[in-house]
Symmetry: C2
Amino acid sequence: MRGAVLYGPRDVRLEEREAPKIIEPTDAIIRLPATCVCGSDLWDYRGIDPFTQPTPMGHEYCGIVEEVGRAVTTIKRGQFVIGSFFASDNTCPNCQAGYQSSCQHRELVGGAQAGMLRVPLADGTLVATPDPPSDDLIPSLLTLSDVMGTGWFAAEAANVKPGTTSAVVGDGAVGLLGVLSARQMGAERIIAMSRHEPRQKLAREFGATDIVTERGDDGVARIQELTDGIGADSVLECVGTHESMMQAIRSTRPGGFVGYVGVPHGVELDTHELFFAHVHLHGGPAPVRRFLPELIDLVWNRKINPGKVFDLTLPLENVAEGYRAMDERRAIKTLLRP
Amino acid sequence: MRGAVLYGPRDVRLEEREAPKIIEPTDAIIRLPATCVCGSDLWDYRGIDPFTQPTPMGHEYCGIVEEVGRAVTTIKRGQFVIGSFFASDNTCPNCQAGYQSSCQHRELVGGAQAGMLRVPLADGTLVATPDPPSDDLIPSLLTLSDVMGTGWFAAEAANVKPGTTSAVVGDGAVGLLGVLSARQMGAERIIAMSRHEPRQKLAREFGATDIVTERGDDGVARIQELTDGIGADSVLECVGTHESMMQAIRSTRPGGFVGYVGVPHGVELDTHELFFAHVHLHGGPAPVRRFLPELIDLVWNRKINPGKVFDLTLPLENVAEGYRAMDERRAIKTLLRP
């Protein structure tokens, strides 16, 4: 089996890897019709996150169950399934509270940029579609594994409600799907912050009513201007840098909500400022498992089409170009066909 | 008129000050039957907050309206009123959203450790009791001006709901009234963190079901132990130090809520840790005005007795001793009788 392996900054290679097999009796092996590159893969790709050894890449997946361990009871061979980047038992108190990405037995899923994948805790992690999907649904179903679930969590953590004003910081795939999520949750006004024309266009398609091209303090000033000097009710932080986080907090009205899903890199909160900002702050790794049934239903019934974030499709052989295109912001998100 | 003035670290003096008068037409002047020392006054008293000039102290007040400006329409001479440390117009969008302490026209009220006080924006700030209160109600009514309203906000920001488990970090007056608030909001289990026997006693009287005497990592370990390794649903942070804030965050279950009302002093949040902690964070200066009608009703009908936090009553002349007793933790909170 061939899979993508990161060897160092900007050095990702497709190489022969051992095909995954059942290790724990709760595992499943799935065959992947498609996989993709995540914005968070770029932290590693750019050498920003510490890196020690060649690492099989990829944590977004969906596909056909090929084999299950002997302790797996609900997931069956032949089902088309989707799971989260954090495997979870879905029974512990944290899972029951809806925070499966803080499952007491969680395991990171890795190596999904390949043709086959081992998923731990299959019964707790995987959710099956009603039937095998038609091929055109696969990109959208694949987004539910992370990027769509994460945008959805940003909107939910930011308390998006019908009739309210949302702002979205970040025009990567997560931010764009944050726009889609805010629209789906009934936000009346959705301000997307983006300087990139193709991304602005997709943001509008997903439901953005306003585009703000300014960043940092200027971006905050523009949001304040658009909201009568009060700030937005809900702000989705979908980047993870210090600048984006401060932009989010300062764009939120007192009593408003910041939902943050960008893994923080160098974010330093001025806690005195945060105190007087009066915002609600919630976020973290998205508990994708919680949202899967609802999101599968929305995709299955063609109510949402999050797969539109894939503006580049490549065969898995060209994975290196898939990373490069995202790194250079030539592509929003790369779909890879094994 | 005599009032308390801070001259420098641990140097508070009672001195002759000019009696307040109407400056703006929206002002009211009230006569104070009692006033008190706030835990937050100790930041100044201890020289921790920057200090430039002699400062009239005190921001907690209730009393009889003596005079109102010509633009004041709802507050009348002779009413017994309570207000917040932040005067607010109660009409701007932030006030309407329930965040009067972020009012677009807010003004800090100061100099309340005296016999008389000027309160700006009287109509928006002050709430009258149904009738003049009996003398024994005055301490409890006085707490509503800040300390009780702040404990209440901590519990509300921490999302205390019937049947849940709350923990309270801080055994000052705010923390103790956070316990009372959590009980009032229906928490089933309330864990008070305190090493001081008289404060533990009052915490139990206010509704604490468990006492944890350990602090820092040991305190966190104890909370985890008491909650089956999950953490509390709601944690009230009522101190404002780095240690207390980290203790609060680490004592909260994934998906749980931290309500923080201690003005942050030296708090440095590890945003990576915060992200993976999955907690909700909300706090700030309490929007006391929002809570006044409900809290006045509870005190008036003797459903709560927050005035019990005053374990030292002194004539205003002895204000210096009032500060000393709190600074040395000999007193929980000092009531001053002008």
